[in-house]
Symmetry: C2
Subunit: 338 residues, 2 copies
Amino acid sequence: MTNPLDVRYLTGFVGDDSWALVSAASNRVTLISDFRFQEQIAREAPHAAVVIRKGPFSDVLVRIAHRSKIDRFAVQSASMTLAVRNALAAKLSARRLVPVDDGLLQQRAVKDPIEVRLIGRALQCQQEAYRRVLKELKPGQTERSVVARLEMHMRELGADGSSFPTIVAADANTSLPHALAGQTRIKKGGTILFDWGARCAGYCSDLTRVVAIGRMPSRVREIYRIVLDAQCAAIDAIGPGRAMCEVDAVARRWIDKAGYGDQFGHSLGHGIGLHVHEEPVVASRSDGELKPGHVVTVEPGIYLPGVAGVRIEDDVLVTPRGRRVLSDLPKDLESAIV
Amino acid sequence: MTNPLDVRYLTGFVGDDSWALVSAASNRVTLISDFRFQEQIAREAPHAAVVIRKGPFSDVLVRIAHRSKIDRFAVQSASMTLAVRNALAAKLSARRLVPVDDGLLQQRAVKDPIEVRLIGRALQCQQEAYRRVLKELKPGQTERSVVARLEMHMRELGADGSSFPTIVAADANTSLPHALAGQTRIKKGGTILFDWGARCAGYCSDLTRVVAIGRMPSRVREIYRIVLDAQCAAIDAIGPGRAMCEVDAVARRWIDKAGYGDQFGHSLGHGIGLHVHEEPVVASRSDGELKPGHVVTVEPGIYLPGVAGVRIEDDVLVTPRGRRVLSDLPKDLESAIV
């Protein structure tokens, strides 16, 4: 396993540059790492066997293959690069490397109660940090300085850090679905979009809210209402056995009907867990069904380039009988005027 | 080009999930991206041709190959995964995909004056943020809360963010070369290690300092002196045409001679630029030479598990006649008692 999040899921070790070798015969896990992580592995992954390499990974694999008579290695095609594979193939022969599709992605998509609790903890951090930032919000602050304070509060509240680069976008910047926080200043009557998340004990959360100081421009109010209705309808459509593309379609039909179909160009949501974007993907092209234990974002948006964008996002757990919205920041239009 | 930093280097576009196609015939650059980045690309990469894809990348490549009669695509083996390559090969045939080693890594390793200035700006941010944090430093603060403040100050001083996950480690945690900041509290007479960096306009800086509040344990003072001497000697050895392994050896011999050779298990340094770890690697195994325009870290360390670790790191530009140390935080033993 070359994907560091799978290595973590499997062993508890949270560093990187380390591979996990799982023996099909013995089910034993061996961590292949280097000097830098030796002490950390002893603390975090006491149950794994450990090989501290001095040379390249391929040398270790050749030695293990020989000693344990391993004929073939399944390798993770979604995280192994061509360069790594070619370096291995030079010593092991390509025939002995069998690319497999995704490793643990499907297992990781279904959360157990401890994982749900950790996502909940990340949500508490990010929500409380947001409340503090809203209290401090003043016209004249730059997007970047708001990001600085939001991230500081998340850390001080116990987060490992952000689960992805925090977006705080003002006015026309809100129409960039992946805006970077810059030196634009927030102003009274302007629109501010927050898309942020915390990571706690490795687990990620992810929310989006749009607010305005004092009053919200009428065009933004209009699309806010449409996006919110679309989001609530999609959340109501979530449940075990529901086709993912259908849940996406519920939000999409709503926005289409309001005449903004072309301004909602991304998919409805994605799983969250050790990674902030993981399985399942809730999109028009998805062909799977929701299962109990899936935790997904629901985040429709409408983007009017040069004017403004509105996206509203919550995190939802699929339960055996329906759904539970894990986030609880208010999102009605009144609460968006701060 | 599938490496987002190469795409940025080439076009100015700072988003991700986008590929750059460089035509060998016309030298023309085409960005292949999606809806989310359409407006951002228009702002950041106005000179690139753009294709907004709705389906997979492979569909776009098949279309372009057909239209422009392209027979073969060079692909970046260090950033393309087996999964992506297999998806492309299913539509384009494997023969038409030629893996190339590193793309722009060697070009990117040599910085032009504008890039050096941006690294300098990142250094100014991170150094000023550090000075502020040292002033605020109080026994009882947790490692994580110090990280929160350090990162907030870097942002408020104009950084895009950290160039890597900030390390603030107290006491025995300092012996983990890649420690994660946790809930350990800093205390009077204890050792605190900072390894942090800023990113400004995409460019990264990276420094390490070790301090103690009030007084430093004598064992730590001993290894501090050795590491500092080794670091200064290695910096003095830097210059154009110097073998990288030799510069590494200067520091290593010094630490060996003092009896701590086995406690310095990592390489001496690495290039910094758009990525915080890039070419060249200054290690005992490196076989290249330093060139004017290289900017490298020099960061020897001694780690005594369960006791303490000391690492001292500066960023150094190779000039046509020698070197220029770009960072200027004090590092003598007296300045390390705060």
